[in-house]
């Protein structure tokens, strides 16, 4: 049943690479933004919140299009990237950016939810014990946010595995270079009789996400703080 061509294998490897990188890249941003939204007291929180949610609200294709405008040759950031010698469009980095942007709102919402549950007295205890702002962030808020970071990471990873619309615009559908699993599936399903290939790749996607879920369970179990024995 699982018959994979070498192009398929390349797509799987690429998907894993892109999803992992996108998740890792998004985590610090997600953490910082979630902190800002959960604890920050500046004006315009709602604006930032909305801005972060955009990639969720708009169809991925639109996001891809906007990213292309932004990062393309004529785009405001594109020129900058070009002088730095960084090529984003039509490379796997483009896929990472697409996935990261699409995954960010999921990440931020999760982490924020977790952060808002942290007992403010714990944070205060840390501050009175001499830990400065960033120290408390790193040594208390971060470890206590692990469950929500994991949840956010999983959402981002899973979403990246399935991301199609923005990726195909920003990175193109180049087999072996930017063709991730969803793009490959797209090709398969647009070929009459391509169902078998599509199915195999779907299964691989599912396996990959299961792998992540299992890792998640292990992390969660470790960081679970109290005996949770309820009848």
């Amino acid at each position: 049943m699982l018959t994979l061509t070498s192009v398929d294998l390349q797509a799987i490897w690429l998907s894993a690479k892109v999803a992992t990188t996108a998740t890792l890249v998004t985590l610090p941003f997600g953490f910082a933004l979630a902190w800002l939204l959960a604890f920050g007291r500046m004006r315009g929180k709602l604006l930032i919140d909305g801005l972060i949610s955009l990639p969720l609200v708009l169809p991925p294709v639109v996001i891809g299009y906007l990213l292309l405008l932004l990062l393309g040759r004529q785009g405001p950031l594109g020129g900058l990237l070009k002088t730095l010698g960084i090529q984003v469009i039509f490379t796997w980095k483009g896929a990472v950016i697409a996935c990261a942007v699409i995954g960010l709102p999921l990440m931020v919402r999760s982490i924020r939810l977790g952060m808002e549950q942290i007992d403010p007295y714990l944070i205060h205890a840390s501050r009175t014990l001499g830990a400065g702002f960033f120290d408390t962030l790193g040594s208390l808020v971060l470890p206590l946010s692990i469950p929500s970071l994991v949840t956010g990471g999983i959402l981002c990873f899973a979403r990246s595995l399935g991301e199609f619309g923005a990726t195909i615009i920003l990175a193109g559908n180049i087999p072996g270079v930017t063709q991730t699993i969803p793009l490959s599936i797209y090709d398969y399903t647009n070929t009459p009789g391509g169902e078998a290939g599509a199915l195999s790749l779907c299964l691989v996607s599912i396996l990959l996400s299961y792998l992540v879920l299992i890792i998640n369970e292990i992390i969660m179990r470790r960081s679970r703080r109290s005996v949770r024995q309820l009848s």
Partner: protein
Amino acid sequence: MKLEVELAKRLGGFDFSAGFSVAGERIGIFGPSGSGKSTFGNLLTGLLRPDMGSIRLNNCCLFDSQAGINLTPDRRRVAVVFQHAHLFPHLNVRRNLLFGLQRTPVDRRKFNLGEVAEALDISPLLERNVAELSGGEKQRVALGRALLTCPDLLILDEPLSALDKRLKEQIIPFLRKTLRRFAIPYLYISHSLSEMRLLTDRVLLFEGGLFHMVTDAETLARQRMSSNRYGYLNHLSLSEPREVGDLLGYRWGENELLLSDHNNPQTGLFELSSKDVLLFKNHPHALSARNLLTGTISDLIPQGGTVGVVLSCQGQKLIAQVIREAALELGLEIGTKVYAAIKASAFRRLA
């Protein structure tokens, strides 16, 4: 330590306001439940932000609404033991204890982990997860965690109420000793007058969200003599124990007192209830009490149905308490010479 406070804070329907200036190393905060004691602590540490006013600690301004100053908690150097332990759930006991210590400049550190853990009887728990501690154990870890930061001011919010008597008796002397030895000034919030007397020099009284007055535990104890279960508790510093038959004889100024406490023949602080001092006009005979002192009445404190009789026994002060009628009958007046009988078992070691 000098604390100058002038502030107001509204919390829902509760109004807190206080304005005073107090100096000393050992300050108590006393007041009924809901009188704003914990609120005051939270205002000092910066958990709550006053609506207006100012807080100055040792001439350093922690908060000033007019000048727009509001030091962050970590720069206030005010540590706190909350009413609930609030231990860090992701760290084990040892790392909870180390949390503050590691953030204290090396030259400020005055204790090490071992010492404190030993004194608080938590050495065997060091590798435990904090979720696996009993109520009393948690509170002790919180106490240790705060102590180890050697702060400029330590706020203790009912730190001992979750502890059993044995531990309390063990920790109070330790607190006295270490806080004094390392000169850690503290604010001690408690319902216990006896803890107040042992651990504080001055006491701030709160009531209904208002700062009421500065007094001291001694005065409070005298004022509450008639309503308190054990009257007034004399604190006696006794020294040079020697064996006298089954008993121990201690020096108390010029006097010798016989005590039945045999466990620990050492110089120390002892407690004696005013109600345990029996007064006689004439020398009583065939008396079960082992101590008979002579003294002169230096003051009389009438209170409720009783009279506190302040005696001067060879220069040492002792307060006895008799009911008004007895005082009249015995003709107790300032200057009168009386016999004071005290049972050897009436003394209790405090430290």
